[in-house]
Symmetry: C2
């Protein structure tokens, strides 16, 4: 009897058990946390018990032959329940043992010392003579693998929902960033490419995960903690550990660059799926840093589970048994695009030997608007002026951190090194998709990848808009397309569900040749602008009607032959070509109305004519005003060089009139020789990095 | 005016329009089916109109300059609506034209002849003088691509839900089978491997899809119908067309084997993503046959869309414009396993040079139970007797057809050709997964792949049970596993969500070495049987207590040394080994209880001892009674050759006593020399093809 604190009367213990049982009835009743455990009347057993779980003992299994009754005693730190509940009997009278007698054992406080708690079961024969006693020594620990499952930027304690992931404002589950930026600015490499932590600053791109433990100074002999992931998840995640909690708090250590690799040892990776982690003893927290390695894609839904198990020793040569597993789930943050309605941060253009006029116009516009202009010089762009086409700016977001990420197109023109060599850097990520066995066409340029402002369509909300790409008609037996690798990537991000338009009717084939979005103070907060030959002809016929038939287009532009309004209207081939173009744009108009939930009042038709010089595919007849740059309320529009009425270009006047109703100011930029004649315009030749959405993607209702 | 049927007064037409508008207000108000259309005052236009859609005309676009009013006239077959609705004006008085005047045009009956319907818009100037007239000739067609979206085995007409797929008894969406059987029985090949229909009987493995059209005898010049699928879906589906509706109805044609290829031309495949399909004219139905090519897997969610578009001609050299698209969605049926609680159909065993005794026992049992025994002879099994391990029987199901499908293991022992060469045939499908860069271990044998009976777990129903596989502990740094390709396949089927147990503690490593399910008349309809060394020791100690310590095991079995009960109980090493085994089984017991929602009362412990001869991995000490074959209420159990009490084997007696409570009858089969000594038993050496579930997988609530 010496193993028990005799001063605790059994009735006092019974009271405590009763109160505990009410508190923890749910725990005892749940299957989830019950562990089958065996007692032994031959020898004293020791067990490490995890707070929050229940040991379930089949009393019959360990009963000596001929046992008919049993009784249970324990120290106050231990709670138990007998099932089926014993009938009321006299106090201290043993309970009848039957075939399915079960003892549930639990503890609610961590132990200070090994084996500081005890329980015994005594077995009796027919005449209540003692036949044997099974003694159990218990040590209790608290173990919790913790993440920011409530998405407030802090790692809370043992969130009950940490093991699953749901969308929406009342959703839960932690978030992981792909560590696709580069802490280094020279000899760059995406941080996810290297399997070590080279700078402390890199830790903020990872998700903090905390292992909280409470118990004796050391685990009982042979018990271990192990962290583990599945083979499938290991392709997408890497886990580092903070060797000591001091490191990150001490700014001095940031000076000693070389020391971090060993301060943050790699725990799990595709090479190591399971590894022991230290138990620090007493009340302790150990920090882990979880690094995302790949974006969601066709074969990866973005969800990752990380497990922490307590291992119980077997004999030498046997694998340890995981007797308790805590599990957390992360979702990898998607890549998010930013529509024209978000405020700009930086504007990017190329400087070439022949675009001084354009550059000057852009510089003035950007300065006036109060943003930063970044010029990519010729040593880098090697004459490739299509800043829009080589890359798309986006970002990734989590409750703890967010940063811009450039999507590099498989286009790979002479600007191909710009995204990696210039943009990639600290807190500026990079992602690309390589078209392995696919033909890369002009439709892979990112003038063909846009995103709408936030919309609501038949009750479904897209608070971050919808991605828009251009392809061939799905019914066309031949036609150009965007590569499947890029399309798969875009669809897999999920939060801006893409729409495929028909852009293969254009020689260059980009959606930005016939559409854009501008902010508006009313209605849905924006307007869709569409190129419209009908609107163009209407304007030209109106000019003719008003006696301006002899007004001249392309006046003084050496690159294009001057032509009168009358001559344009007389050109029946041009009219037929534009009828065709209008039908192509109308087809897209119908898709956009349906997929973005737009009314005709949400759309403005811009007077733009096209022509079909070759391959039966269209190019803009004069600078394509819809191919504009949108900087807040300031629009940078290709100067159309239209017919002049009273000294003012009628196309510019119409454009200004249409936009001024929305409070937008038009600046016309001369891109005629350096862009328009090369089949692009202002938008094709620029790119804008914008502010992030206030809306958090994880609050989407899916 | 001659184009109009003058006898129809405009007021009569107006009445009809008003009634139509009430009926079809929803159609006119919906964005979904509206198509932007342009009128022309310069020339008469013709258009093919699809019933159920709306043409939307911006009246301003085609208005001659200075137009201030307009009026609309049409034949009774045409309905229109003006938006914004015109103010009440005098009858026949034209409507004022403003910037956003829109005309919505619809038709509700298919045309008998091309251009048999007309509509005109007349434009007026300030003084109501006629400025121009736009005339439109209309031809109406009905087009519907139809499938069995309500899952009743019949292709209904234009189901409004055919374009999406949802689970559950009130769900919708059509179902597709993988055409993985072989209509031929010689020179076999899975039908999905060949891109043609070789026999009419193959059509029933495909899903019928009907194109219903109604309209004039021919489509107006240049209009076409085209069927199309996406590049992604094309890997998973193939579509054939019935050239004439006679073929399938005429049994005589079945005699002319060679004619079917041209009777059922291939329409769509991975080579052809879009193809024109004929318009039959008047009221017609054309049958298509949709063939599934691959099962759901890690990179394929099982959903496939098929589109049918009406193409409008452009000028020569331009792609035709899809002006209407109808879309249907299929889900590929998952591969489904059959638990022991389903009735057997056929029992498979191998005949070898040394298993006569076993075969005789099996033959008696199967005949007694009333099922068919199929013996795989030595020329085929080449000495490989492990019929359980090379394959798993399952099936696929759809509302129109279902058949068994064998999953061939990557184990590939000498039985490797049996599933393909013997089982594959008409209405008997085949599927396998090839472990390309993975190590295939003993855990890839399908004695390690089982399925539970239907269960309900914390309110979640699994009406077809849950798949059970065995692997190493997830925390083990080394250990054998089931190949990832097979695991990915099993998880992707979704309808029997798998559970991973720990089986790597066994030398052979199969879950069927320590567990099985038997039917039961009460509780959940089944019991989980678990091997239990504790129950074994309890039984042996009871024998000893009752004075049978000198009873002999393995009596008369030359292959194993005889041993007494006393000697077994005295062997401390054996006891220690069995304590370890019990802890491994208890670990699995806890997982099974939690994942299948079982109580202890749902589990029966069978008295079975193990030993650890090598590699610290366990094998059964005597024939492993849990490794049984379950044929309805008859169990075929390895004869344990246990100690005899009063001439009867105590292990058999205990087994019979445990099972008789469930109304199950035990037949003990001598597999000692030919299976047990080779580390397998009755279950390992047999396989059972069972009846299908009554439950339909698409009725699952996901």
């Amino acid at each position: 009897m010496s193993v028990f604190q005799e001063q605790v009367s059994e009735t006092a213990a019974a009271r405590e058990v009763s109160s505990f049982l009410q508190k923890k009835r749910k725990l005892f009743d749940s299957q989830q946390y019950q562990r089958t455990f065996r007692l032994d009347t031959q020898k004293t057993l020791s067990v490490l018990h995890v707070i929050g779980t229940v040991l379930k003992v089949n009393l019959n299994r360990s009963a000596p032959p001929s046992s008919k009754f049993f009784s249970v005693k324990c120290t106050p730190s231990v709670q138990y329940r007998i099932s089926p509940p014993p009938q009321e009997t006299a106090p201290f009278s043993p309970t009848p043992l039957n075939g399915n007698s079960v003892l549930l054992i639990s503890m609610d406080r961590a132990s200070h010392f090994e084996n500081d708690s005890k329980l015994s079961v005594q077995y009796y024969g027919e005449k209540k003579e003692v036949l044997g006693r099974a003694i159990l020594h218990l040590t209790a620990v608290e173990i919790s693998l913790d993440v920011d499952a409530d998405r407030d930027g802090h790692v809370e304690r043992n969130n009950p929902n940490k093991g699953s992931w749901t969308w929406g404002p009342s959703g839960h589950g932690a978030i992981l960033l792909v560590n696709c930026d580069s802490e280094r600015t020279y000899a760059k490499q995406q941080d996810s490419e290297q399997a070590h932590v080279s700078r402390v600053s890199d830790l903020k791109d990872m998700s903090l995960m905390v292992l909280r433990t409470k118990g004796p100074a050391k685990l009982p002999g042979g018990y271990k903690l192990a962290m583990h992931i599945s083979q499938g998840d290991a392709e997408s995640v890497r886990i580092f550990r903070a060797k000591s909690s001091e490191v990150t708090n001490n700014p001095l250590t940031q000076l000693f660059y070389g020391t971090f690799v060993k301060d943050f040892p790699l725990v799990l990776s595709s090479e190591v799926l399971s590894q022991e982690v230290p138990y620090l003893g007493n009340t302790a927290e150990m920090n882990f840093y979880v690094e995302g390695l790949r974006f969601p894609d066709k074969d990866f839904d973005g969800l990752i589970s990380i497990n922490l198990s307590l291992l119980e020793p077997m004999s030498a040569g046997f694998p340890e048994t995981p007797i308790f597993t805590d599990r957390v789930v992360f979702r990898v943050a998607p890549w998010i695009m930013t529509p024209n309605t978000l405020n700009p941060v930086e504007v990017f253009v190329c400087s070439t030997s022949d675009n001084y006029q354009f550059l000057k116009g852009m510089r003035n516009l950007v300065q006036k608007s109060g943003y930063k202009l970044k010029v990519c010089h010729e040593y880098m762009n090697r004459g490739d002026r299509w800043m829009q086409d080589e890359l798309e700016f986006g970002y990734i977001d989590s409750p703890h951190h967010r940063f811009p990420v450039v999507l590099d197109s498989p286009r790979d023109g002479k600007l191909m090194n710009f995204p990696y060599d210039v943009l990639l850097g600290p807190d500026f990520g990079y992602v690309t998709r390589v078209a392995n066995n696919e033909v890369v066409s002009s439709l892979d340029s990112f003038g063909n990848l846009e995103v709408s402002p936030p919309v609501s369509v038949n009750g479904k909300n897209y608070p971050m808009g919808r991605i828009i790409i251009g392809v061939a008609f799905p019914t066309a037996s031949q036609g150009r397309n965007m590569t499947k690798v890029v399309q798969d990537f875009l669809w897999a991000q999920k939060v801006q569900e893409p729409i495929a338009l028909f852009s293969d009717w254009l020689l260059v084939g980009h959606v930005d040749e016939f559409m854009t979005f501008v902010p508006a103070p009313d209605r849905k907060g924006f307007r869709l602008l569409l190129a419209s030959p009908d609107a163009g002809y209407k304007l030209f016929r109106g000019l003719q009607n008003d006696g301006h038939g002899q007004a001249i287009m392309f006046e003084g532009q050496g690159e294009a032959e001057e032509i009168t309004v009358d001559a344009i209207l007389k050109d029946e081939i041009l009219q037929a070509e534009n009828n065709y173009v209008q039908s192509c744009i109308d087809w897209n108009r119908d898709v956009l109305k349906s997929e973005l939930g737009l009314d005709d009042e949400d759309i403005i038709d811009l007077p733009i004519l096209f022509k079909l010089p070759e391959m039966n595919r269209a190019v803009a007849y004069y600078p394509d005003m819809v191919n504009m740059i949108v900087l807040g309320k300031n629009l940078g529009i290709p100067k159309p060089f239209g017919p002049k009425v009273n000294g003012r270009c009628a196309l510019e006047a119409e454009m200004c009139s249409l936009m001024s109703g929305l409070g937008l100011s038009c600046t016309f930029i001369d891109d005629f020789a350096s862009y328009h004649m090369l089949l692009g315009e202002v938008h094709c030749g620029s790119n804008v990095r914008r502010e992030f959405f206030d809306f958090k993607w994880w609050n989407l209702e899916m």
